[in-house]
């Protein structure tokens, strides 16, 4: 009922339905889980509760150290994501910027393409 105190001119106003939907979307799985709890049967069995490994008993712990490639992909993703996010404000104001904006962004992307080419040549983008 907090919404009743908020003015329709406040910046948060248009976002309130998203918050409301967050509550609904969170309540939905919780209710579903609670209803399920009433109906289903649950029998404890050590074999049944072990991790699936094609019928054998699980060998060791699954949480082994993972390949460094995932880390590398995440790193490259982060870098290019920052680049992409800069394109959004540029695209919005593009009609005011015109040719000047195109040249500036050409420079910006150009410098990054160098980095992209470097990563390509170094084999970072290969997954073998």
């Amino acid at each position: 009922m907090l919404g009743l105190f908020l003015d329709s001119s406040t910046p948060i106003f248009g976002y309130l339905p998203i918050v409301l939907l967050l509550l609904v979307a969170t309540a939905f799985p919780l209710i579903a889980l609670a209803i399920g709890k009433v109906f289903r049967r649950s029998v404890f069995d050590r074999t049944k509760l072990s991790a699936y490994e094609c019928g054998n008993d699980p060998v060791g712990d699954a949480r082994e150290r993972i390949s460094i490639r995932y880390y590398l992909i995440a790193m490259l993703f982060l870098v290019f994501d920052v680049e992409t996010i800069f394109l959004f404000p540029w695209a919005i104001t593009y009609d005011q910027l015109g040719l000047f904006g195109l040249v500036e962004m050409f420079l910006f992307i150009g410098i990054l393409v160098v980095g992209y080419y470097y990563a390509w040549r170094k084999g970072t983008l290969n997954w073998v």
Binding site: A74, W90, L112, A119
Partner: protein, 190 residues
Amino acid sequence: MEKVFFIIIASLSVAAALSVVAQRNTLYSAFSLIGLFGCLAVAYITLQAHLIAAIQVIVYAGAIMVLFVFVIMLLNIREEELRVDRNRLLIFSVPLGGLLFGLIYFGLKNFKIDEIKGAPVGTSEAIGQGLFSKYLLPFEVTSILILLAIVGSVVLARREKDGDIEDIEDDEQVVKVSMAEKSKVEETKE
């Protein structure tokens, strides 16, 4: 009554931040941090900084934290390995924490809330116009910074034997090479 909203968001942020520090499991800490970023995004929206709020979630919660989570999984440190003598760390953490609070206190002592009135600076249009007029040079320099980050991450994660990978352009070729080697081995067996 925006204050009420702010207090809710602020207390949620502080709770999430405390949880980041207090959790034993690093993965739990990471997820508390994601929650904290979410709260901060809402705080930015209340300041009309819509684009910054979106960036907060997309870049920080969606990209940087993915990297964190991967690193945590990559290292896979068990909880028992993390048991360190907390009392010994207090020697460093208390003065450093005090210093930080001092900085924040003196930084904000003469700050008046009225000063930030005026046109909102965090909307997409404001940032777009700012980037290509007043902050054009910093913007272009940023691309060089990002370039350095790409080179850095490539160099950091390079394995020793990667030296010759440049010669092998295509993954298909690697498969072919290994197939050829395999058939050689089979020939010698025969």
